[in-house]
């Protein structure tokens, strides 16, 4: 029997998330002998991240992808992966997320009706601002810094002496242009696709937080597939994640080159000094969720 899977994702079609979706759709159609068809809805057409996750849990959407921070209401421990300076390199992040620690958190999503297909990525978050390159923690002091809904990142910028300002992402571009805020942080692909470079002067490669994506499928729909189809789907999903991560690394250089035409890029950042300065952000997480997962991540990272 043919099954059609509705795949909603939040980014424009130029983004690598869409490329991954297309790769997944093509491979899955071929390897399942036409049994599994994927219908892609890009650009948040089927709703915001929160709505798409609710939709995937209840089966109105079959597959969705969203920044991992959108799942921390369901699995609070997942916030550990997005803590500042949690992962020194991408490879470490891949190892931890694809290993027992990451899959364990994924398993916890099942009680909410979701099967984890994998952790594609948006790369590391980097800061942009209008006042000057950010090399040491003192450069962050006094910035009007837009922050998202992550408690840890908000704590981090507070600890660094910036003035963290909660703004809806829809108002961020205008706010940067008019000067309500003068700094923001996003992964490179987002800074590019939302065109924040047009209203910012400096991009500093602070790489202060890894930004994994949570790629999930409706569990009931998954369970309905034959065991054979299930393993085909998981295989293709794993390949798609690898494909996406490859595009992310490869694409980042090209994107940085593109960005360098519009703003000054600074790669001279004292990572160790930042790591020490943002410790309070970790303390907040530990006091709320304990340090088991952090220690597990650190242990898996060191292997």
């Amino acid at each position: 029997a043919e099954t059609t899977l509705r795949f909603a994702h939040p980014t424009p079609e130029a983004d690598i998330q869409h490329k991954m979706a297309e790769f997944f759709a093509a491979e899955l159609a071929e390897r399942s002998g036409g049994e599994l068809n994927v219908q892609i809805f890009p650009g948040g057409q089927l709703g915001s991240d929160a709505q798409a996750i609710d939709g995937t849990r209840s089966g109105t959407i079959d597959i969705t992808i969203a920044g991992l921070n959108n799942y921390t209401g369901l699995v609070p421990e997942a916030a550990a992966f997005t803590l500042p300076f949690m992962f020194p390199t991408r490879e470490t992040a891949y190892r931890v997320l694809d290993g027992d620690v990451g899959q364990g958190v994924g398993k916890n999503l099942e009680e909410f009706g979701l099967v984890l297909l994998g952790y594609p990525e948006n790369g590391f978050r980097n800061m942009t601002n209008n006042t000057g390159p950010i090399r040491v923690p003192a450069d962050v002091e006094g910035l009007q810094m837009r922050v998202n809904n992550s408690q840890a990142l908000s704590d981090m910028f507070q600890a660094l002496g910036a003035n963290p300002i909660q703004l809806d992402v829809n108002e961020l571009y205008t706010s940067l242009e008019t000067g309500v805020v003068n700094a923001q942080d996003h992964p490179v692909p987002v800074t590019l696709s939302f065109r924040f470079y047009e209203v910012q002067d400096y991009l500093s490669l602070t790489r202060h937080a890894y930004s994994p994506l949570g790629w999930v499928m409706n569990k009931a729909k998954f369970d309905k597939l034959s065991p054979e189809m299930q393993s085909t789907l998981m295989e293709v999903a794993a390949e798609s994640v690898a494909h996406q991560r490859g595009l992310a690394v490869e694409g980042e250089d090209a994107m940085l080159a593109q960005l360098s035409e519009h703003l000054q890029i600074n790669d001279d950042v004292d990572g160790a000094a930042f790591q020490a300065a943002v410790r309070p952000a970790w303390d907040g997480f530990v006091s709320e969720h304990g340090d088991t997962l952090i220690n597990a991540i650190l242990e898996a990272s060191s292997k």
Binding site: S58, Q144, Q151, Q166
Partner: protein, 169 residues
């Protein structure tokens, strides 16, 4: 019954006013704090969105009670009176079916998101959907009464008289 209804709806009005004034105070305080004290209310954005959803959903029931949802009445008023009456009943049947569906949907979503705790406010995100549960419960009660008697006022208030006349004119 009249006394109860009047108290109930004026209580709802007071709740709407209260939510609105809290939203204004919160968003404005955020602006003031940003400049006066280099800080802000982290929860402000999320809480004001929550306030908006409750304001809109509960308000939608009030608007239904007052028959103020946008509608084109001109055409059915040209028809013979019994047909007009039938069509108004039919409209409330459609409203009843859709709000019952909304009730069931928001009920399920509230339950599914009761453990979905916002990291910033510590509140369950099911609270957003709960507004739909409360609202559709109120709207289905209104629809049932109006299917039986399309002219039922359901308020007993005095000032509402004026507003309705203004609208019908």
């Amino acid at each position: 019954m009249q006394v109860f209804l009047r108290k109930f709806w004026s209580g709802v009005d007071a709740a709407i006013a209260l939510v609105l004034i809290v939203m204004i105070a919160m968003v404005f305080a955020n602006v003031v704090l940003r400049y006066g004290f280099s800080s802000g209310i982290r929860e402000a954005i999320e809480l004001s969105r929550l306030g908006l959803v409750w304001l809109v959903m509960v308000g939608a029931a009030v608007v239904l009670r007052r028959s103020e949802h946008l509608a084109v009445h001109e055409i059915i008023l040209l028809l013979p009176k019994p047909i007009t009456l039938f069509l108004r009943r039919l409209a409330y049947c459609v409203i009843l079916v859709s709000v019952l569906m909304l009730f069931w949907g928001t009920w399920k979503q509230t339950a599914a998101n009761w453990q979905n705790i916002s990291p910033l406010t510590g509140l369950p995100s099911g609270l957003f959907y709960l507004a739909g549960v409360v609202s559709s419960f109120m709207m289905s009660a209104i629809a049932i009464v109006r299917i039986i008697n399309p002219d039922a006022r359901l308020d007993g208030g005095i000032d509402d008289d004026l507003a309705r006349q203004e609208f019908d004119a």
